[in-house]
Amino acid sequence: MLLRHTPIEISARGALTINPAKTCQPVGAMYAALGIHKCLPHSHGSQGCCAYHRSALTRHYKDPVMATTSSFTEGASVFGGQANLLDSISNVFALYDPDVIAVHTTCLSEVIGDDMSQIIAKAEREGKIPRGKRVFHANTPSFKGSHVTGFANMVQGMVSACATRSEGPRRHVNLIPGFVEPSDMAEIRRIVEVMGVRHILFPDTSEVVNGPLTGKFRMYPRGGTTLADLTRSGDGLFTVGLGRAASTPAAKLLDTKCKVPCEVLELPIGVRATDAFVDTLRKVAGVHVPEALTVERGQTVDVMADMLQYFHGKTVALAGDPDHLLPLAQFLADLDMRVLYAVTGTPTGPRFERRMREVAGGDVVVRQGPGADLFLLHQLIKNRKPDLLFGNTYAKYIARDEGVPLLRMGFPIYDRVGHQYFPIVGYRGALRLLERMLNVILDQQDRDAPEESFELVM
């Protein structure tokens, strides 16, 4: 047993994280930047940060992940990283010819105090940024927030640098999908298209990190929001942000900067959250919900009804990002399942805990921020074992030691495929979640049932 040292007694730990349920901001910023077409993410820090983030994303997507680095040296740590970034900007445009460079900081460049706006302005003045090209940035200190915060900051950085309000008509809805998989982003786009709503979705990593095998290596794959669309986001009729932690800063900034009103909803995971998403789109775009979507919804609810006896009363432990956990907990509650524990390493406000209790009941144990790690979740599970566990690949140690089936969700997933291609958002995504949970529950029943009650029809 790999985790044989985990004691059942839970004691306070102030200074220490064991088996984290989060990672640092820059990887989220890098992922967000990949969702812009012909954008090259740039890591302003030591070479290793960039290598680690690229490796982590490559393992998760099994696709090439391109990013550049300022390659800090001892000198840069003393005199500041300005020269490295200026050189980088020149070299990146000369060598790789992207439309955009999206710079994110690291703990190192933050502590040194490099002023990104000033350095980028200097690059502009010195003619290092070719005409029509763009460099934008996000401050992503690794000692604050988590990978989710990094994603949110980079999306906000996109708005800050690119969104522009013109005098033209306002016809489209902006959609900010949150820190979700490329498959989810594509599904969000599909729902909006089915509803006939003009839209700009940003960022959009579909067909960037889940590209086809073509026999060619593309530095810049087909997918991604174009710089032109990003600029036009300032002319939106309305912005729908999905996921409070990941999408609020950008949605709010579009409002204050370009006077595009916004609403931030939960990620459309499960029926209710998807209903809220669809309903909001209906209202702000003035469209009807098409029959096709109503049918999808009906099919999903139909399966929930068909199989309710297998879900009823099952207990669940959740580890993941706050934006995923809240709507998922609601969906589980709608299935009459019970969430025992919800753990996220991402620091969130008291609202998260309050909302989690609203949907999952007053008994749910909620832990967030520093100290809320997979070691703690393991201790909780030792105290009371759930029927199911949702978490990323690292939860598999707990699953194995405690004999709890794991449903993989979140970042990173290093040991299975599917998340790149099959969404969990929308009615179709809910259907997939139902199928995955049922497979686990029913396989277990088939395996463990005594022979006389081993059932053919379930």
Partner: protein, 453 residues
């Protein structure tokens, strides 16, 4: 010749047509998509396999998260190294310093896990915010009575090689901290990390020869073995980049001679065993070694011949961390009838590249510190069937419709030793001759072209 950034031209050469020496050992161009990592990465990979030591990463959470159990360095006993411990420095720690937090974390972990040593990795900002990690380690070590060592691994302090040196410096402090008699016919194996169980294979060969392996540094490592390592009569250094600094220091301190070896491929493995036999001398030892080499080679040859039949004249690209591994791979590929058309490393030095030039066929591209765009172009230009590399290279090969073999952290079967050569052959064969490539656009076109020839 394909387009290469001017600043990089000196880091690429073609055997036969280019006669200049390859420029290497330079920092990556700022703004390049380098495949290289940092000081911390180097230190972490070397020390990580010591399974009964505590590995605490002092810094923000990322460095601990990205190195959490990603390398399959197996342990036959304790598995403390597979957990992720971090001080998870937050904004207030950056302002007020993280020393107290570090000390509390260390003491709590030591109480909880009772390790035999502790390594504290000081990452980028630990020094910048003024933490005296050495002092904290000394303070705690005085109370606990075992080595508690700071590993200075700020990412910006150099390259991965400097990280290897930092790890070697930490190991050096542990070696010799207990007294033990020198055993006859005793060696240490340096630079094998027991990825997929490779150290076990190597140790088993020496055991069967009658040679005592005092310590393997650091595969399936234990603190007690490291402490006794000074009693060995010979140090073998595999993976040239990482452990040479330690071998040199042990030679200075204890007069222990050292030799470079490799356990990849039949010839190199046999040479590594004979090297030891010749060092100690004696007909019996030599006879036992010869018998072992013969038996093991005979056992794996049929498999190699089977694979060779399908792989003859196929072309390969090799891009690995250390150049010494590249030497072995060029030879191993030749044994399979394959041609190495592109070969490069992240950290090779001038001598390494000269040696590569001497063993490669004419027209081979040799490259230092490449990037994905270059590598993809070289692969297409040289029309290779196989790329050998690590995690970041794998999807590039697959997108091109080219077979791949992981010769890095993520290999799942041991590739070392005679038995490892058998695994290597099977893996290369399975990937190169996979029917999947018939469905991939580029390869399907090529297969059709071949058929009409």
């Amino acid at each position: 010749m394909i387009e290469i950034l001017d600043a990089r031209k000196a880091q690429v050469l073609r055997t036969g047509s280019d006669s200049q020496a390859l420029v290497c050992d330079r920092a990556s161009v700022a703004g390049s998509v380098s495949q290289r990592a940092c000081v911390f990465c180097g230190a972490r990979v070397v020390l990580y396999p010591i399974a009964d030591a505590l590995h605490l990463v002092h810094g923000p959470v990322g460095c601990a998260a990205y190195t959490w159990d990603i390398r399959g360095a197996l342990s036959s006993g304790p598995e403390l190294h597979r957990l992720s411990f971090s001080t998870d420095l937050r904004e207030q720690d950056v302002v007020h310093g993280g020393e107290r937090k570090l000390e509390r974390a260390l003491r709590e972990l030591i109480t909880r896990y009772k390790p035999n040593a502790a390594f504290v990795y000081a990452t980028c900002i630990a020094g910048l915010i003024g933490d005296d990690v050495d002092a904290v380690c000394r303070h705690v070590a005085a109370d606990v009575g075992f080595p508690v060592l700071a590993v200075h691994s700020a990412g910006f302090g150099g390259t991965k090689k400097d990280g290897y040196a930092a790890a070697c410096a930490a190991l050096e402090k542990i070696v010799g901290s207990v007294e033990a008699p020198t055993a006859p016919l005793s060696i240490n194996v340096l630079g094998d990390f027991n990825v997929a169980g490779e150290s076990w294979i190597v140790k088993d060969y020496y055991r069967r020869m009658g040679v005592n392996v005092v310590a393997c540094l650091t595969g399936d490592g234990r603190v007690a073995e490291v402490q006794r390592a000074h009693t060995a009569q010979l140090n073998l250094v595999q993976c040239s980049g990482s452990m040479t600094p330690l071998a040199k220091r042990l030679e200075e301190r204890y007069g222990t001679p050292w030799k470079r070896v490799s356990y990849f491929g039949l010839e190199d493995t046999a040479a590594a065993l004979y090297e030891v036999a010749r060092f100690f001398g004696g007909d019996e030892l030599l006879a036992r070694t010869a018998e072992l080499v013969r038996g093991e080679t005979e056992a794996v040859l049929p498999e190699i011949e089977r694979c060779r039949a399908g792989l003859t004249d196929r072309r390969a690209a090799v891009y690995v961390g250390g150049a010494f591994k590249a030497f072995s791979l060029v030879r191993a590929l030749r044994r399979l009838g394959m041609v190495t058309a592109v070969v490069g490393s992240q950290t090779g030095n001038r001598d390494d590249y000269e040696h590569l030039r001497s063993i490669c066929d004419e027209g081979t591209i040799i490259v230092d510190d490449t990037n994905p765009l270059e590598l993809a172009r070289f692969c297409l230009e040289q029309d290779v069937d196989l790329l050998i590399g690590g995690v970041k290279e794998r999807p590039i090969a697959y997108k091109l419709g080219i077979a791949f073999c992981d010769h890095n952290h993520e290999r799942k079967r041991p590739l070392a030793g005679f038995v490892g050569m058998g695994n290597f052959c099977r893996e290369v064969y399975a990937s190169v001759l996979s029917p999947v490539w018939d469905l991939a656009p580029a390869r399907a076109g090529r297969a059709a072209a071949r058929a009409t020839q």
